[in-house]
């Protein structure tokens, strides 16, 4: 029997992998992919608790997030593409235009 704790553990693992990926990887595309992992960790939580409490709202919310993630990926990739055209780099530590 798979209990809610299992789902939470999976979700926690995914979330942690995602956060570490965002913080440590230099390639912007990988950072974007890590953000997707974080979002999906949230989705797993939502679906798990929706199933636990028999309420469909959680699943509806998960679908919204998936849609949102798709849109976000499109916009994010667009920005990255535009940025690459200007600076010929995808490395986050070279994106320091905000620096003093």
């Amino acid at each position: 029997m798979i209990s809610p704790e299992h789902y939470l553990m999976l979700s926690l693992a995914l979330f942690t992998i995602g956060v570490i990926g965002v913080l440590t990887r230099r390639n912007v595309i990988i950072i974007l992919m890590s953000i997707e992992l974080i979002l999906n960790a949230v989705n797993i939580n939502l679906v798990a608790f929706s199933r636990l409490y028999g309420d469909v709202n959680g699943q509806v919310f998960a679908i919204f997030i998936i849609t949102d993630a798709a849109a976000e990926a499109a916009v994010g990739l667009g920005i990255i593409l535009a940025f690459f055209r200007n600076r010929e780099t995808l490395l986050a530590d070279e994106m320091d235009l905000l620096k003093w």
Partner: protein, 684 residues
């Protein structure tokens, strides 16, 4: 006078207006007019004035003797309102633009317009080849206007307008050749010297207004009677003396006579019209016009008589040694004016005006004839370079001879009658004054015949080039000479038997009652005859002496001059009066000007203007320092502090997104840890 005035008397205000109109045309449009047009307009307007004057004169004489006063008030000129008189009463100050014709002003306008017209005609010939022809006639007509205003005015203030007008025209005409420095200097001198007299006259007008409450001539007599002033009231004497100060300026008496000899720089017709016949007699006219005041001031009368007598002999002595033909005539004019004032001073107002009239004839003629001589000699004025001209310019010579005889006092010419009358009155007043006048008469005869002999007789001393060009003047110049010559002969006859005196009697206040006149019958006719013979004798003595010295023994004058070395020099240099005035007043005035200039430069400019500038600069420097260091300093200090703060905090901003993200995660973990801590330890 209720009955309407006859035409000419009702239109006396037109008499000054004709010359004014043409003067305006000349001065505004004259440049575009041809000389012939200028002649028609200017001479014509003066002739028209003469016609109107003559008509007014005839209509005036047609009236009964006692009523011979025509007053025409055009409008109220200065209705200045009420003021307190000296006696505390309220009076209304009022000056009309009004005209008054009585026997006195009738004589004056006839002389002014008559002689003026002749001199205008003469000028058309004399000035024909001069530049500024229209300007000359414009000034001349403006002068005629002013002079006629002067003699026709019905109050003191309007008289003063004419008085100043003639002064201005005199200035303009003396300086007519303005490119010559001596001429423009002479004009200025005349103007400034006259200012001194005018100041006195103006004060006199103020005092009259304050004391009598009126400035109308017609009301002065009644006001004096109503005021019950004592004979010799000091205030009346003050008015009379102040008026006389004005008269000494305008009529060239001691001490203000110095401008008249210099005024000869002007064209000769100007000398004839202004500085012999009309303007310089304005003082005589004015004193006669205000004789009601003078008759209450015996002290002032005495001053007038003494100044007149001294001026007469003093100027005559200077006339004796002058070599410039016009200067001789100028000193002669001063001397004759002195005669007139002598007459006024001894109370013989009519005799003074009589001499004024005859003098206008023969002195006008003398100047015009001298102008004709100068014209013939291409501008030569020095008598030492003349001589033997009688055959070459015969007509000029004859007219001048008549004028010379007239001024010398040879009967039956004009000068004899008027001069004799003055001397007779002077004899009654004071034997000393008579003696001075008598000697002056002899000197007059002497220097006038000296002039005549040096100019027309003896050997010719004319320069050779000039001699070829000697020519008689054109008819336009000769005809006025002849008319004036006739007047110089017959002009005195109207005075025979006291007719002239009788004619003027209504104007001379209380002529019958005056103490001086009362003494008149005392002078026996035998005395009068003796005086007459004496004056004729002295005239002939003067003539004979001149003949002896300048025709018979021409070497003598130089010897006499040498033997009288110091004295001759003194007289020749006009007693150094000009130098004395320069030293006493002119240079002192200049010094004052220089001192004021230095004061301006050093104190006003230096301490005042520059000081204020320095102070402003100093204040602005201080405030600049304040601005730079305090105001700007505080602003910059603020910005510096912000900068320091920013310098420290900027190291937080790495610009790496992941750094920020890490901080967010650390912060989130910190916050969560804090709440977990709270949940586990604080709440339980």
């Amino acid at each position: 006078m209720n009955a309407p005035l006859p035409y000419f008397l009702d239109h006396i205000w037109l008499i000054p207006l004709f010359p004014l109109a043409t003067a305006a045309v000349m001065l505004f449009y004259g440049r575009r007019l041809k000389n012939s047009m200028v002649n028609y307009l200017c001479v014509g307007s003066v002739f028209l004035s003469f016609i109107y004057s003559f008509g007014a004169f005839l209509q005036l004489t047609a009236m009964p003797a006692a009523e011979r006063t025509a007053i025409k008030i055009l409008f109220e000129w200065i209705p200045a309102g009420p003021y307190h008189m000296l006696n505390g009463r309220i009076s209304n100050f009022l000056a009309d633009w009004g005209f008054q014709l009585d026997p006195l002003s009738a004589v004056m306008i006839l002389v002014v317009t008559g002689v003026g017209f002749l001199i205008h005609v003469y000028s058309t010939g004399y000035m024909a080849h001069e530049g500024g022809y229209y300007r000359f006639f414009g000034y001349l007509n403006l002068f005629m206007f002013s002079m006629l205003m002067l003699v026709l005015a019905n109050n003191l203030l309007l008289l003063f307008v004419g008085w100043e007008g003639v002064g201005t025209c005199s200035y303009l005409l003396i300086g007519f050749y303005f490119h010559k420095k001596s001429a423009s200097d002479a004009g200025k001198k005349a103007f400034i010297v006259n200012r001194i007299g005018d100041a006195g006259f103006l004060l006199g007008i103020f005092l009259t207004s304050a004391l009598l409450g009126t400035i109308r001539f017609a009301e002065i007599g009644p006001a004096l009677a109503a005021g019950h002033f004592a004979l010799g009231d000091p205030r009346i004497v003050a008015i009379a003396l102040l008026f006389f100060v004005g008269a000494t300026g305008k009529s060239a008496q001691i001490p203000l006579y110095v401008w008249l000899p210099d005024a000869m720089e002007g064209p000769t017709p100007v000398s004839a019209l202004i500085h012999a016949a009309t303007m310089v007699t304005a003082g005589v006219y004015m004193v006669t016009r205000t004789n009601a005041i003078y008759q209450l001031a015996p002290a002032a009368m005495a001053v007038v008589a003494v100044i007149g007598a001294i001026t007469a002999i003093f100027a005559a002595s200077m006339g004796v040694v002058q070599n410039d033909i016009k200067k001789v005539l100028a000193y002669s004019t001063i001397s004759q004016l002195g005669y007139m004032f002598l007459a006024l001073g001894v109370g013989a107002f009519a005799a003074g005006i009589f001499h004024l009239m005859t003098h206008a004839f023969f002195k006008g003629l003398l100047f015009l004839a001298a102008g004709s001589v100068i014209h013939a000699l291409s501008g030569e004025q020095d008598m030492q370079k003349m001589g033997a001209l009688s055959g070459k310019i015969r007509k000029t010579y004859r007219t001048m001879r008549i004028a010379t005889l007239a001024i010398a006092g040879v009967p039956p010419l004009a000068g004899f009658f008027s001069k004799d009358e003055i001397l007779a009155h002077a004899f009654e007043y004071s034997h000393v004054l008579w003696l001075i006048g008598w000697i002056t008469a002899g000197m007059t005869a002497f220097y006038m015949f000296r002039l005549l002999f040096l100019t027309f007789h003896g050997q010719s001393r004319v320069d050779h080039e000039v001699e070829h060009h000697i020519h008689e003047s054109p008819n336009s110049m000769l005809v006025p000479l002849m008319i004036l010559a006739v007047l110089s002969v017959i002009g005195g006859w109207i005075g025979i038997g006291g007719r002239f005196e009788k004619f003027l009697e209504p104007v001379i206040a209380g002529a019958a009652q005056s103490p001086l006149e009362a003494a008149r019958p005392a002078a026996a006719s035998s005395t009068e005859a003796a005086l007459m013979i004496a004056s004729v004798a002295v005239a002939f003595t003067g003539i004979a002496l001149a003949w002896f010295l300048y025709l018979k023994r021409t070497d003598l004058p130089a010897k006499i001059a040498k033997s009288l070395n110091g004295f001759y020099d003194l007289v020749f240099h006009k007693y150094y009066v000009d130098e004395l005035y320069d030293a006493m007043f002119v240079n002192r005035a200049k010094d004052l000007g220089l001192a004021l200039g230095a004061f301006d430069r050093n104190v006003i400019d230096g301490a005042g203007v520059n000081g204020a500038g320095w102070l402003t600069r100093f204040v602005s420097k201080v405030s600049m320092w304040w601005d730079t260091w305090i105001v700007d300093g505080s602003v910059r200090l603020g910005s510096f502090l912000v900068y320091c703060l920013g310098f420290v905090s900027k190291f937080l901003e790495t610009g790496y997104v992941q750094n920020y993200m890490l901080l967010i995660v650390v912060g989130l973990i910190g916050v969560l840890a804090y709440y977990f801590y709270l949940a586990h330890h604080v709440i339980h």
